[in-house]
Symmetry: C2
Subunit: 312 residues, 2 copies
């Protein structure tokens, strides 16, 4: 079996590649990323470049692939700031990639990472599988358009589409990339290093969060789940732990033996509304299909700290 991973050098992509290699399910992993991969091996075929470039797609798909893990794309803030770029990458090139993968004689499975941003803002008092989709950002709009395109290509028999809508994945690498939600990850790095940190939301802020390891497990599951377990739209909102921010900090500080008072809360009303007011989420369709969250705040924090190299 051969799998293609776009964004293979990224935060989620590199962890996914590690897991796929350790599980040994694929003889060859084709890694597409704008930067050369850190990993090397006979089982890896690296294609360095932007998947928006047709030549890069051609190189990546010289041999038919059985699975495409499509992680690359223009993220939320960047897509909002540059509509043309988001259209070119998140829409046109993504559809081109999927069509090219489906034209090579197999019916590849496409694992597509969508986003809870398809729900838009403000969110209703509770979110479940019947909540209307009404994106409020270009990023979410283009992701939702691709969900629909993939469901149609699945119906036509061109691909097997499995779309998973990701919540916030923790903890991203320190330093952030100017992401406004970086504080959710930075607080973990600060606690691990025993530094004090100012969080721009209140202790009562609620998140939808998933550890990187759990995210990778869900992506691996997406590549093997019986397609009949997915709803007709081929998309599921992944379940997520919904911690109170203050509780998450308490648990992490306790596990690390750090004074939780090192974290102070200076809420920014805009960030609190955007990232700290996530309502209860009932992700039954995903649970029915075998996807899972980290269980509870303790499980979440344990998985996050485990990955950061400290005992939880």
């Amino acid at each position: 079996l051969r799998a293609l991973v776009t964004g293979a050098g990224g935060f989620v992509g590199s962890a996914l590649v590690d897991r796929l290699r350790s599980e040994g399910r694929y003889e060859t992993l084709v890694l597409v990323d704008v930067a050369p991969p850190g990993a090397q091996g006979d089982d890896l075929l690296s294609v360095v470049g932007d998947f928006g470039d047709p030549a890069v797609r051609d190189r990546a798909l010289q041999q038919p692939v059985d699975v495409v893990f499509h992680l690359a794309g223009v993220m939320g803030g960047a897509a909002e700031a540059d509509y043309d770029l988001s259209r070119r990458i998140n829409l046109d090139a993504t559809l081109d990639l999927v069509e090219a993968a489906s034209s090579r004689g197999r019916r590849p499975r496409v694992v597509y990472t969508s986003t809870v941003a398809v729900f838009g803002a403000p969110l209703p008092p509770a979110v479940d599988d019947a909540t209307p989709l009404s994106p409020a950002m270009t990023y979410g709009a283009h992701k939702l358009m691709m969900e629909i395109a993939l469901a149609d290509l699945h119906r036509r028999g061109s691909i097997e589409a499995v779309t998973v809508r990701l919540p916030g994945i923790l903890a991203r690498p320190a330093g952030g990339q100017g992401m406004k939600s970086a504080f959710m990850s930075e607080v973990f790095h600060a606690l691990v290093e025993g530094r004090s940190y100012v969080v721009p939301v209140s202790p009562d802020a609620t998140l939808w969060a998933m550890s990187l390891d759990r995210c990778v497990s869900n992506l691996v599951h997406a590549a093997t789940v019986n397609p009949a377990r997915l709803p007709p739209g081929r998309a599921v909102t992944l379940p997520a732990v919904r911690p109170r921010f203050g509780d998450m900090v308490q648990v992490a500080a306790g596990a690390l033996g750090v004074d939780p008072e090192k974290v102070r809360y200076v809420p920014d009303p805009v960030l609190e509304a955007q990232f700290g007011a996530l309502p209860p989420l009932e992700a039954q369709a995903a649970i029915d299909a075998g996807f899972a969250d980290d269980g509870d705040v303790v499980g979440l924090v344990s998985a996050v700290l485990g990955r950061l190299g400290r005992p939880a």
Copy 2:
């Protein structure tokens, strides 16, 4: 004011152009169609060609336009048969056209004709504004993707988007174009000419139907309605009369003085399921925004026969 009409020579387009000219709201109408327009006049600027051709779009948009009526596209059966064509025209070129219209210094209103095919099949026992959208054909999928793109461009301030989802429009020109739903129109042509006709659905079949004149009135309204009256998704399902097929034939035959027994019913189960089982439709958002249907089966038949040149 300047308006652009794509598909200006088509069934709906030519009737819309006639109405717009008679109302005199626009100084210039730019008519885009693959065939030269029948109408001529100082108020008309004809661009003959496929709007999927960038040169055609450039010619059509040499001057900024205030309103775009986008009617052209690849219809349902053709889109299903040729995915690549539907992607190129119904998705890529449509988005290119809207972006080009919005880049000329104004914030044009875009009146986009979508379809009830966005609801998919089979339909639930009743359809309203909360019914989930789950297209079951490539045509509906690409229309829904464009609805989302237009809502996003509206939110960004690039355009004023008004999307109307059309039901079946009656009566299309005789002869059909191989459309499987052609019988809905053909039965009117047969009755007007006193011919007998075999309908491939039962008398109990239920349709969602709108006269061409009412459709044009709704498109004209879409160009002037206060944008604040539309829901955030910028799309409304137009209200439609839901006649029993047998009643529609009875009313038409009575108005024409023709024996209704000239119409026989030989139901095809596939066509009955696809075109003859439309559930009750509650289109409240459209009604709240001032859109209307033909009232009842008598109003529908009267408007259809009026357009065919016979007293109703």
